[in-house]
C-alpha cells in the first residue's frame, strides 16, 4: 500500500499544475464552508442569546394549555402554589439550572391620565428576573440601569408605548386590570425606565414587581403563570428539557420534536417549552441551518466535479501507461487502488490545507473582534467558532466525496483492455 501511495503521489506531482488547481478548488470550498458555519454559528448563537437572555430564557414552564392561548394572557391557567413548589423543587436540585424566575403575566389598560391604551405586563421578582434573563437591564434605553431594575410601585414600559403615550421616566401612570373573577382594579405606578422592544412573544411587554401584579389582580395565593429558566450551558437544553418534562409530568410526555425545532412536553397539568417553541426566531435559525446545508451541498458538488474531472483527465492522458502496467500483469484491483489513492490524496491534501486556513482565519477573526449591530443591540462582537465534530464531519464528507468521484475513472482504468490501451495514440 505504501508503494501505491508513493507512486500515486508522484503521479500527482507529475501533473503539478492540475493537481494544484484541483486542490485549491477543494481548499477554497472547505474554507468557504467552515468559515460560513463558524460565522453563521456565531451569529446564530448570538441571536439566540439575545432572545433567551433578554426575555425567553432557555426553557419555560406553564400550566397546560396556557401557551396555546397566550395571546389572551388567560388568568384561569395559573400554576397553583403546589405546582410552583413542585417546579421549584425540580429546578433547585438541578445543577444544570443557573437561575429561574416566576412571572405573573397580565393584560391591562395603561393610562397617562389623558389617554388610555392596552398593555401586556410581566409581574416579576426583579432580582430573580435579572438572574434568569441577564440582558434585561441592557434593554433599558431610558432610565438608570444601575441598581434593581424595579421597586414596588415602579414600572418599565416598552419604547413604542412610551412614544405613543408621550410618557417619560418619572411620570406617574395607572394600570387597570380585570382579574379572574371579573373584578376590576387599578394601581398607580411611576415609570422607572423605558425598554426597547424585542421581536417575538413578550417582546413588547412592560414589567412590574410580581407583588404589585398579584395586588392588581387581587390574588390571595402566590400563583404564577410562567416560570422562565436559564441554563448554565445552553448545550444541555435537550437533556434538561427531557428530564424536566419527565419529572413534571404525572403522565409520560408527548413532545416529539427535536429541541432545535422547538419542543413542548406535556403532562401532569404542566408544560415545558424550549425557547425555540416560543420564538418565531427559531424559523430563522432553521433557515440558517438550511443555508449551511445548501453550502455543504455546493461544496460536495464542487469537489465531486473537480475531482472527477481531474481523475478522468488523469486516466485519459495515461491510457498507454495503464495499458503497459496492465500488460506486465498488474492486477485490475491494484490499478483501481492506484487511481483511487490519487483521488484520495487530492481530497485529503485539499481538505487539510483548507481546514488549516479556515482555523487560522477563525482565530484571526476572534483576535480582531469584529463589531456589528442587530436591531437595538449595538456593538455586538462576532466571535466565530467551530466545533471539532463539525470540522471532522466536513473533512470526512469531502474525503468520501473525493473517493466517490475517483471511483468511476479508477474503475474505467482498471477495466481497460490492455491491447486497446497500448494502441492508444
Amino acid at each position: 500500500m505504501l508503494n501505491i501511495l508513493r507512486i500515486a503521489l508522484r503521479n500527482l506531482a507529475r501533473f503539478s499544475r492540475r493537481t494544484f488547481l484541483s486542490s485549491m478548488l477543494i481548499t477554497l470550498g472547505i474554507v468557504a464552508v467552515l468559515l460560513f458555519i463558524a460565522t453563521a454559528g456565531s451569529f446564530k448563537a448570538m441571536m439566540i442569546g439575545q432572545f433567551t437572555d433578554a426575555m425567553l430564557g432557555h426553557l419555560e414552564v406553564h400550566r397546560k394549555g396556557y401557551v396555546a392561548s397566550i395571546d389572551n394572557l388567560p388568568l384561569n391557567l395559573n400554576m397553583q402554589p403546589m405546582m410552583v413548589a413542585k417546579v421549584e423543587k425540580a429546578l433547585d436540585g438541578r445543577p444544570a439550572v443557573q437561575a429561574y424566575s416566576e412571572r405573573v403575566k397580565l393584560g391591562a389598560m395603561f393610562s397617562n391620565f389623558t389617554e388610555t391604551t392596552a398593555i401586556r405586563v410581566n409581574g416579576v421578582d426583579p432580582a430573580k428576573e435579572v438572574a434568569a434573563t441577564p440582558l434585561l437591564p441592557g434593554r433599558i434605553v431610558e432610565g438608570s440601569r444601575e441598581g434593581p431594575i424595579l421597586k414596588r410601585g415602579e414600572i418599565l414600559i416598552p419604547t413604542l408605548l412610551a412614544r405613543g403615550m408621550k410618557v417619560k421616566v418619572g411620570d406617574t401612570v395607572v394600570l387597570v386590570a380585570t382579574n379572574r373573577e371579573g373584578s376590576v382594579n387599578g394601581k398607580t405606578f411611576v415609570v422607572r425606565g423605558i425598554i426597547d422592544s424585542l421581536s417575538g412573544p413578550s417582546g413588547r411587554d412592560g414589567y412590574i414587581d410580581i407583588r404589585d401584579a398579584r395586588e392588581l389582580l387581587r390574588m390571595d395565593k402566590p400563583e404564577v403563570n410562567e416560570i422562565v429558566i436559564r441554563l448554565r450551558d445552553p448545550a444541555q437544553l435537550d437533556q434538561v428539557y427531557a428530564q424536566l418534562s419527565q419529572e413534571l409530568a404525572a403522565t409520560p410526555g408527548q413532545g416529539g420534536q427535536s429541541a432545535a425545532e422547538g419542543k413542548t412536553g406535556q403532562g401532569g397539568g404542566l408544560e415545558v417549552h424550549t425557547w425555540a417553541a416560543l420564538s418565531p426566531f427559531s424559523s430563522i435559525v432553521r433557515m440558517i441551518d438550511l443555508l449551511a446545508l445548501f453550502i455543504k451541498i455546493m461544496l460536495v458538488s464542487i469537489v465531486l466535479i473537480s475531482v472527477m474531472n481531474v481523475m478522468m483527465m488523469a486516466v485519459y492522458e495515461r491510457i498507454r501507461e495503464i495499458g503497459t502496467i496492465s500488460a506486465i500483469g498488474t492486477p485490475p484491483r491494484k490499478i483501481l487502488s492506484l487511481f483511487l489513492t490519487e483521488g484520495l490524496l487530492l481530497g485529503v491534501g485539499g481538505t487539510a490545507v483548507g481546514t488549516a486556513i479556515s482555523l487560522a482565519v477563525i482565530y484571526a477573526l476572534n483576535l480582531w473582534k469584529i463589531h456589528f449591530n442587530f436591531g437595538q443591540q449595538q456593538g455586538l462582537v462576532l466571535s466565530p467558532s467551530i466545533g471539532l465534530v463539525d470540522v471532522l464531519i466536513i473533512a470526512a464528507m469531502v474525503v468520501v466525496v473525493t473517493l466517490l468521484a475517483s471511483l468511476q475513472p479508477a474503475w474505467k482504468a482498471s477495466r481497460m483492455d490492455p491491447v486497446t490501451a497500448l494502441g492508444h495514440v
Binding site: 508522484r10 503521479n11 507529475r14 500488460a327 506486465i328 500483469g329 498488474t330
Partner: protein
C-alpha cells in the same frame, strides 16, 4: 518439451458485419530457451500473434498453450495473473513509467505484480542493472536516458519477475541500427544468463538474421524459414 504450442490457431476481427481474418489457422511450436522471431510485413498478424501468446488477446479458434496452460480459456483476472507470473513484455516505444526512476521502473512489477520483499527486490534489481549495463543510470528518469538505454531498462523490467517467456513487439523499431544490434545481443545474453525464451517480431532482415528460429507471417499464415532461405534473404 514445448513452451508454446499453437494448433489451428485463428483470430478474426469483426468490423460491423465484415469479418477480417488476422490469423488463419496456424500451427507452430516454440521450445524453451529459444530465440524466436516472427517476421512479416505490416498487417501480416505479427502483433496479433504476440498479443495472443502474451494473453492480451483471445484466439477466435484453435488452441494455444503456453507453459502447458490453455491461455485461450483464461479470464481477464487469470490472464493478468498469468502474465505477471510467467511473461515479460518489451514494447516498441519502451513504455517506461515516466515518474519512476530506472531502478523504480524495474522494481515496479516486483511491487505491483509479485509483491517481493525489499531485500530480495534490491538484490534482483542490482543484478539486472548490472546485466543490462544500467547501474550508473539507476536513479535517472526515463526522460534523462537515450532510446537504447530505455530499451535496456525495458528488457530488465521484463526479466525482473524471472519470466520464462519474454515477448517483444518490434523492440528495435525506434532504435538506430547499431543500438538495435546491441539490444538484440543483450537479449541473447539475457537468454543465456537467465534461460528465458525470447519471442519477438520484426521486419528488419538484419535483425532477423540473429534469430535461431524464424517464422514468416504472411496474410495470416505462418511458415518456418529454414537456414538456407534466411541466408539467401539476408544476402
Amino acid at each position: 518439451m514445448t513452451l508454446i504450442r499453437a494448433e489451428r490457431l485463428v483470430k478474426t476481427y469483426r468490423s460491423g458485419e465484415v469479418e477480417v481474418p488476422a490469423i488463419r489457422g496456424v500451427d507452430f511450436t516454440i521450445d524453451p530457451r529459444s530465440f524466436v522471431v516472427f517476421v512479416g510485413p505490416s498487417g501480416s498478424g505479427k502483433t496479433t500473434l504476440l498479443n495472443m501468446i502474451g494473453c492480451l488477446d483471445h484466439p477466435t479458434g484453435g488452441t494455444l498453450a503456453v507453459l502447458d496452460t490453455d491461455v485461450s480459456k483464461l479470464d481477464r483476472r487469470a490472464a493478468a495473473n498469468f502474465r505477471g507470473q510467467h511473461i515479460g513484455f518489451v514494447f516498441q516505444d519502451f513504455n517506461l513509467i515516466p515518474v519512476l526512476t530506472v531502478y523504480e521502473n524495474i522494481e515496479y512489477p516486483l511491487i505491483m505484480v509479485q509483491n517481493w520483499p525489499e531485500a530480495r527486490r534490491r538484490k534482483q534489481i542490482t543484478r539486472l542493472l548490472e546485466a543490462v549495463g544500467m547501474t550508473e543510470q539507476a536513479n535517472k528518469r526515463p526522460a534523462q536516458i537515450s532510446g537504447g538505454q530505455k530499451q535496456r531498462v525495458a528488457v530488465a523490467r521484463a526479466l525482473a519477475t524471472n519470466a520464462q517467456l519474454l515477448l517483444a513487439d518490434e523492440p528495435t523499431a525506434n532504435l538506430d541500427h547499431d543500438t538495435a544490434f546491441r539490444i538484440i545481443e543483450l537479449m541473447k545474453k539475457m537468454r543465456d544468463e537467465f534461460g528465458t525464451t525470447f519471442v519477438f517480431s520484426t521486419h528488419d532482415p538484419k535483425i532477423m538474421s540473429e534469430a535461431e528460429v524464424v517464422f514468416a507471417l504472411e496474410d495470416g499464415r505462418v511458415r518456418q524459414q529454414d537456414r538456407e532461405e534466411r541466408v539467401a534473404l539476408h544476402a
